[in-house]
Amino acid sequence: MLNRRSLFASAAALMVALGAQAQAEGVLRVAISTGYPPFDVLNADGSYGGFDVEFANLICERMNKTCEFTDIEWDGIIPGLLANKYDVIIASMGINEERMKQVDFSEPYYKGPSALIAKKDAGFTADEAGTEGKAIGVQRATAHECYIGKHMAKADMRQYATSEEAYLDLQAGRIDAVLVDTIPGEEWLKSDPANAEAFAPISADLYDMECFGVGQGIALRKGEDELKAELNAAILKTREDGSYLELSNRYFGRDIYDF
């Protein structure tokens, strides 16, 4: 009997501890989604790296908090925020109208247009007529879906869980092009000489306010205006003290704050 009772007691204690841990003071719970190099990377020792992660740490420092990271699949990242599993998403999430129906955003912390990447000799243009019947890969639940629907409506859109899978199918020849964010797209081209030789962006930088919005921002739940103000102040501080520029230069050799 004693055993059973102590089991109940420890189970109850554990549940209280779990509940309490989630609301610890001085902690900002940050969601990321690794597997999006060079922004969100899972290191071999289980730690997280990449531009988003280092940027998040800069933000937390300037809010006098410590970041507590949750690595979650992209598809589950907004539901998790809405269910209060974490406080913010710092995972290169584009600010657009569709997402703003569900969540709130900080000011953009970097701006990246999109690019259509295809075989160098593909010979089509990045507009509605040019992409008619072409198979174009996008990461699902992203702004690129919106862009294709609006500007390349006759293309055969293929949706992937992440852009990495879209690249694989581009290499395999199953799709004609991928529509991706320009910066990680360039990184992908650079990552392997074979990529740079076979593929290139076939469009100028693509912009669309309705789809891509104004850049990538920190997502938070609606109605948390105090947190939003703190985040915006922290972003400004990283600009003023030069830490942002150092980070951006280290990763991309240029300032991506204002593309």
Partner: protein
């Protein structure tokens, strides 16, 4: 290959999570299965209908759908309930618990059907013999019904286990870090996805081969006394 070696501890950690989820899920689903089949066979009309409805419903809904509903929907419901009653501000629905409960809930339905099928395979004479020996209900369950039930149910439990083990991969959408989550994320992070996918496959193969050995040993044990019928 160098990448794989570098990430070996993470892959091992993920394998541990996969096994932990799988085994906890298996034990719970077996318990649900026993209770469910008991209700379906020996329960009153209402218990029978509930158990029957449960297995029909669960087996026809996609696992992923159920998992997302329970985890995210459950959390949102808890938060709303807390805000409405003012009893709590935020209670975390633990990801591991949500994963295990969903897996047990789903596979409990399959196990119910496994046990029910196995029960009907036990020759009627066995129960009559037990009764005529004057065994109590619990003695009959322990010495006559259960050993033979396991003998007949094991092949189907084995199949369920293998599917269950692979279903654990779905928990990565809940933020739990199992073998598939670590493998896929590492593959994307190092831009070397195929090496990691093959590694995941090999590890699952090893796990499956090992469980096959255990299952065969169990089957030998539980079918020892089975009469050969011609």
């Amino acid at each position: 290959m160098a990448d794989l070696w570098e990430y070996r501890w993470l892959l091992l950690q993920g394998t541990g999570m996969t096994l932990l989820l799988g085994i906890t899920g298996l034990v719970l689903s077996l318990l649900i299965g026993l209770a469910g089949s008991a209700a379906r066979i020996g329960g009153g009309p209402i218990a029978r209908r509930i158990a029957g409805g449960y297995t029909t419903f669960v087996r026809s809904v996609p696992d992923l759908c159920m998992m997302l509903l329970l985890f995210f929907g459950g959390q949102t419901l808890m938060n709303k309930l807390g805000a409405w009653t003012g009893w709590w501000e935020y209670v975390e629905v633990n990801a591991f618990a949500a994963g295990v409960i969903t897996i047990a809930f789903i596979f409990g339905a399959y196990m119910t059907e496994s046990f029910r099928g196995a029960y009907t395979s036990i020759p009627k004479g066995q129960f009559e013999a037990a009764q005529s020996l004057g065994l109590t209900r619990s003695q009959m369950f322990r010495h006559v019904t259960f050993p033979q039930l396991m003998g007949y149910a094991l092949p189907s439990i084995g199949v369920n286990w293998m599917v269950l083990l692979k279903t654990t991969a779905l928990v990565s959408v809940l933020g739990l870090h199992d073998l598939v989550f670590f493998g896929v994320s590492a593959g994307r992070s190092t831009r070397n996805p195929f090496a990691f996918l093959i590694a995941i496959m090999v590890i699952y193969l090893i796990l499956t081969a090992l469980s096959d050995l255990v299952l065969r040993a169990l089957e030998r044990r539980y079918t020892k006394g089975r009469m050969l019928r011609t």
